[in-house]
């Protein structure tokens, strides 16, 4: 049901390697270039953040596991550029490129600071929330996009089918399950839902430990 990126709770990955706080922000120069090219290409407006996340998730499991972090970004970027008709397969393979009709949208150096400082809020006006703080809810099981088979969703598999408690309301946010598939933003109420770790994992490391996710209303159903 799930894709390879949905790894919360998985066994077998070994120890976390904390590194040092003095490590450079970009371990390799090409990491910095990969981040910058990805952001600049995104600024062309040919896809949204949910589309780009889904493109990374759609890498084959073999590629996803073999690629380092920024290699995943680059691969998804190349795939998106072709899927959206921004570049051709021939150009990617090295053919002489044509100037793009989108060239006038290219982000200029003097626009970068403003664009990064503005960001892109995901909050939208929308309907009143169905749930209130303290309500018990059950998450969808299995975790899946009900609109598109294999589609993007932000309900992690490890909380699918669990009962949790609404802890915080965030108003309406763009709905990724629709927005990742060019179905519009379809904003829905977003909630922080807290789960007992013992419920999620069968046994908690210590009693009272909890884990929370930020979940959209249509992932949730009321529990009497």
């Amino acid at each position: 049901m799930s894709r390879v990126h949905d790894m919360g709770g998985r066994f077998g990955d070994g120890a976390v390697m904390p590194g040092s706080e003095n490590d450079p922000v970009f371990a390799q120069d090409w990491h910095a270039r990969a981040l910058a090219v990805t952001l600049a290409a995104g600024a062309l407006g040919q896809w949204n953040l949910d589309v780009s996340r889904h493109a990374r998730e759609c890498l084959s499991p073999a590629d996803y596991m073999a690629f380092s972090y920024y290699e995943k970004w680059l691969a998804a970027l190349a795939d998106l550029l072709v899927a959206r008709g921004v570049v051709t397969r021939a150009e990617l393979a090295g053919a002489a490129p044509d100037v793009s009709p989108l060239a006038e949208r290219a982000m200029r150096a003097e626009a970068v600071a403003g664009a990064l400082a503005r960001g892109g809020p995901a909050s939208r006006d929308g309907r009143a929330p169905r749930f209130a703080k303290g309500d018990s809810v059950r998450t969808r099981r299995p975790a899946r996009n009900v609109r598109v088979a294999g589609g993007h969703t932000r309900l992690p598999g490890y909380v699918a089918g669990l009962v949790g408690t609404i802890e915080r309301l965030h108003g309406c946010h763009v709905f990724p399950d629709a927005n990742a598939h060019d179905q519009g933003e379809q904003p829905e109420p977003l909630y922080t839902v807290v789960f007992d770790a013992a419920e999620a994992w069968g046994a908690a490391e210590a009693p009272g430990d909890t884990v929370s996710c930020d979940l959209w209303e249509s992932y949730l159903e009321p529990v009497a």
Binding site: V16, Y70, L74, L102, A106, A115, L116, A122, H173
Partner: protein
Amino acid sequence: MPHDHADDAPPHSLLPPEPALRVKALETLLTRKGLVDPAALDEIIETYAHRIGPRNGAAVVARAWVDQGFRARLLSDATAAVAEMGFTGRQGEHMVAVENTPAQHNMVVCTLCSCYPWPLLGIPPGWYKSDAYRARAVREPRAVLAEFGVTLPEGQRVRVWDSTAEVRYLVLPMRPEGTKALDEAALAGLIHRDAMIGTALVEPPA
């Protein structure tokens, strides 16, 4: 219908195999098509390599420790509170600050990708984006904390915040004992990145 396997291969497989060359190829192609301005790329890199990083978050935490009014605003509407200090923007549009207390230690992860509060902490460190952290932080946070050298006192609960939407979390660590005499700037110097993710505690000055 003739079947040409090469046309089925994902587009990214057409790029050079070596990652640094792959980036170069994409950047060159997009530049020649007029879609990317190399000077804009330099500006993006300069921003995240040097201008935006954990010092921003440390300034927020130190302010919250010395200014109870700010702390209250931070806990009720972190987005507005950190904007007072000029910290806004991409991957920080919807901020929530979560306060460590003797009863609860907070720890942040993104199991589905690598969501992280860029305006306050910069670009996430490699370990935050690693499979090991993404997979394990939710299931065995205390075991992961031990790998960071952190053992929590008995009776302190752990809450793991999985950043599954566009809400970004900043952990507000506990102010260590023996820091009453320190001013805001000196306090900020004690606060390191990992304490604001929840994989470290703030240590008193040596």
